[in-house]
Subunit: 481 residues, 2 copies
Amino acid sequence: MAPMAPRKQYRGGVAVLTPRATDFPRWYQDVLAKAELAENGPVRGTMVIRPYGYAIWERMQADVDARIKAAGAVNAYFPLFIPESYLRREAEHIEGFSPELAVVTIGGGKELEEPVVVRPTSETIIGEYLAKWTQSYRDLPLLLNQWANVVRWELRPRLFLRSSEFLWQEGHTAHVDEADAAAYARRIALEVYRDFLTDVLAIPVFIGVKTRRERFAGATNTMTCEGMMGDGKALQMATSHELGQNFAHAFDIDFVGADGAQHLAWTTSWGSSTRMVGGLIMAHGDDNGLRIPPRLAPTQVVVLPVRDDETVVAKAREIGAALTDAGLRVQVDARPGLSFGRRVTDAEIKGIPVRVEVGPRDLAAGNVTLVRRDTSVKTPVPLAEAAGRVPALLDEVQAGLLAEALTLRESRTADVTTVADAAQAAQTGFARIPWRLVGEEGEALLAEEALTVRCLQTPDGEIPAAGVDPDDLVCLIARSY
Amino acid sequence: MAPMAPRKQYRGGVAVLTPRATDFPRWYQDVLAKAELAENGPVRGTMVIRPYGYAIWERMQADVDARIKAAGAVNAYFPLFIPESYLRREAEHIEGFSPELAVVTIGGGKELEEPVVVRPTSETIIGEYLAKWTQSYRDLPLLLNQWANVVRWELRPRLFLRSSEFLWQEGHTAHVDEADAAAYARRIALEVYRDFLTDVLAIPVFIGVKTRRERFAGATNTMTCEGMMGDGKALQMATSHELGQNFAHAFDIDFVGADGAQHLAWTTSWGSSTRMVGGLIMAHGDDNGLRIPPRLAPTQVVVLPVRDDETVVAKAREIGAALTDAGLRVQVDARPGLSFGRRVTDAEIKGIPVRVEVGPRDLAAGNVTLVRRDTSVKTPVPLAEAAGRVPALLDEVQAGLLAEALTLRESRTADVTTVADAAQAAQTGFARIPWRLVGEEGEALLAEEALTVRCLQTPDGEIPAAGVDPDDLVCLIARSY
């Protein structure tokens, strides 16, 4: 007899989440709803980000923004509306984006003379201004970033993963030569994206470059960070593109060099989006809900009085205050009318990394109980030590989530030597195989089974340097979001 | 003979800004360009916010966001696209906004069945979700805010002041009764907007309520903060609206009360935008450029070596490091190839509150020179004291700018007793006059001369409480942006 699929979890009589093994997409939808992260907007494919979902995004933004600034780029803001003609100036770019455009044809009650496009990305409009601001080699590198909403009409929208409107940052830079552009795009891929994803989101990523087929429309090289989700599928978490002189040519981004002659600049662009929230959910979530890494978590610790009893609640608030004083993000959940069980379930669904449970029996023994969200391990500790013990416990949760994700990825990444074996292994995870055994023909075959080459990398897992023979590279093949 | 209008200022042979007295609007454009704040976008009325302009906005955002959170509201994000039908549900709302709408009619290459509007404001779409999330009186008050871009097609666009797309925050809240809604809208007007404008932007504001004619489309009461610009014109800096039950009715925002019966909620909305950047420029700018209050300034202190000399530059960097260590936002401007004069002019145009000038002669005497941007007063101080003296000097600049703006406002606000005198006084500033001497008829007459009642307030300058007899109020009349 086949093992029965686990059924819905019940807590205090309340059905909570569809188990991941039963139906992963359904589990994802359940988490979005029960953790109050997001819902569908009224216009197809649009998304309402609820306060808890937005708090997660705000913390991602703050950390990524600081890393971008540390890499020397500055923020600016360019218009939402782009003249349709701008997109046509770069042939591959318009070809890639034209099926996804939202077009404004009426403004102020009148038909517009030239329709305007709602930005799907901003290479073109920013290219126009890079051209104005780039006069001399002394103006370079020009390193810009913007936080904005973009619109790409989606046929199969999924909240956070693929929504018609999403929020993101998009960096756009201009450089004096190809080497400087390549080095900067690589620096962003590694120091901003990979380090953020690994060190803050606790999501290990495969880094590498996209094949010609998967490249950004208009790029000469696309670097990517690919995460593995709980169901073994890949999610492209962030990308960094070398655009060569394609946009510089289309928008006349030129400058007078140190040699006194006119030169075309080399540009890059790079982005990360609210899609990362979807990745966070799917990389770490379990059958009880979200599991948010402590460095990111809007609330790192929740203090829960077990009973609605004055002494217990007062003690819980005291501990909460001590934890807040220690610099942690803390919530005391003493909501009246909600049972302890309901409040625990809620904290679990929301993925709060550590709970401090304060019960009358524990208190009588001078203890409280610390509970890790990732492992469910409970540790009674003396009341006086509680606040002091939590920071180290948060570090353990942070490391634990990364280790668990790495273990999953290793267990689901298979080294193979034929395209057929790659296709087989990619049903449950990633297949790693030398690129020379796949090639563009193999890639086309895999595409028929909805499998893609996620990236090409060196055998030791690095982004290949310019000019490396593709035959010396390995590739990772997977199903993907 | 009439006095000659001052001409363009020259610094080191470079024409800088049109003097304000010659042509205020032209001066404003010059500041935008020379301080590298913003430029026109390619689509009429849109705006490119350059890095320095955006850094100013980012600091406004951070401060206003903290105040909004302190007032208990949480951030969320709602879609850019609103079904056209939503706007029609509130009659005054659609009437007010329909001439300004941008409409998307094509999505993903196809004509849309129902056109979607690019949000001009979000009462309608947020109303739809407030209705879903408001079940019981226990869910109230529901206090939301979002940071977003909005689009209002403008016939006479002006950068920052009136652009077709602008950035803002818009708060939307639902309450159990009218009194709670009114108290919250008032709290936002005072504790978020007035306090921010006064304490951070150093712009004194007249507070009060709008007349029926000037109210937000769909509101029952609009509170406003009105600043006076350098040319005596008014700028509406931020508004907070009571929406009564208008939107609750249109979107079914109802809840089960403590009495077990169904009730309609009372809602509010409130906003402040990139328009505040325009207000900052026009309230404090002088003929040499911006003057940014130190609490807001992206760079509070610039350290300028007078000569491109190794010892001098090293000393400047040392002072810069000490100021940074003291927690200040500091820049050392030792750009090679730019004369000291050019760097001073640049710091003045950008409105950096304090300069530390480090010259070889001063250094020989053991001194550096501190220069206030607001008064141009120069003070030589011993090198060892420089870093320690700057924080107090920044406080003086902050207070000085507020005092100067208050003095201007007082000198240009006239108490009058006839509509004719009000019209006269409003040519150069504000006219204050009992509302009973104006009335809606007087207001209509003034409108013919492009003069508006900016707000109604109590005789001692407060926002009138609900139910106060309008005949007991005074009003402020001005030209406005």
